[in-house]
């Protein structure tokens, strides 16, 4: 799925990274605990979270993620936007809650993990 489609399906506003909306992603994860993301995530390209602080961006950067979706009307700060731009990560925000947003993306074909041999380049 293209990152653009994620923003469309979640009626999300793009905060930064507009030039990367055609990037293809296959997997996603959701958490408000960054330690869990660091512990259990492997090759997920999209992070959905309700947490707003610079560590969210750094965590995604450490995991080589491509896109962060802020749910529940959370708004990333200017500092976070700068960090994301530098890291080449797309930020978007949606009014939807976590469960709803995850369900929509799952139904649309985003998976929770990478199948053997398939991954997002």
């Amino acid at each position: 799925m293209k990152i653009r489609e994620i923003s469309e399906k979640l009626c999300a506003d793009i905060v930064c990274g507009e030039d990367q909306l055609d990037c293809e992603v296959f997997t996603a994860c959701s958490s408000d605990m960054m330690s869990d993301v660091l512990a259990f995530v492997k090759d997920q390209a999209v992070l959905l979270t309700g947490l707003v602080n610079p560590q969210v961006i750094r965590t995604a950067e450490m995991m080589d993620m491509r896109c962060i979706v802020f749910v529940r009307k959370k708004v990333p700060t200017e500092e976070m936007k700068c960090l994301a731009e530098e890291a080449g990560i797309v930020l978007m925000k949606t009014q939807m809650r976590m469960f709803e947003a995850c369900g929509i993306l799952y139904e649309a074909g985003l998976k929770g993990h990478v199948e053997d041999g398939v991954c997002d380049a």
Partner: protein, 141 residues
């Protein structure tokens, strides 16, 4: 051969949670410039990031040294915080002394030290209550 070693040093500020992880981001960038493989870089970055966060939330900051040899990346994280009374207990998944304010920032799940061990090839903790903690981790290239 000492000439083969590339070194990076960083001060980790203990007063500023929002800047925690800045050293790890920088290390990632430098390792990429050195042509290290993405998988190795990711393991180093995650281990170092968790270690850096620990120095900020548990030990009031410290120093990080990263050395790259032809065989491995070695990270040395040194602080003069409270030390760890029971390392075996601290290593257990889910064990954390972090307070609620840290949890609300997305950390303090007690997964940091186990993560650091999981993503590195060797990890050694040298700690003394009241003196501080030094964590040395290596990842083979």
């Amino acid at each position: 051969m000492p000439d083969d070693v590339v070194r990076f040093c960083f001060d980790v500020d203990g007063d500023d949670f929002s800047s925690a992880g800045a050293a790890s981001v920088e290390v990632k960038k430098r390792l990429r410039q050195l042509g290290i493989s993405p998988e190795v870089i990711r393991r180093v970055a995650i281990a170092m990031y968790e270690g850096e966060i620990n120095m900020v939330i548990h030990a009031d900051g410290g120093k990080a040294l990263v050395e790259v040899t032809p065989d491995e990346v070695r990270m040395t994280l040194e602080d003069h915080g409270p030390g760890i009374a029971d390392v075996e207990l601290a290593m257990q998944e889910g064990y954390s002394t972090a307070r609620e304010n840290i949890r609300s920032l997305g950390f303090g799940a007690g997964m940091g030290l186990p993560n650091m061990k999981k993503y590195t090839d060797t990890m050694h903790i040298d700690t003394e209550v009241g003196r501080g903690t030094t964590v040395v981790m290596t990842v083979k290239i």
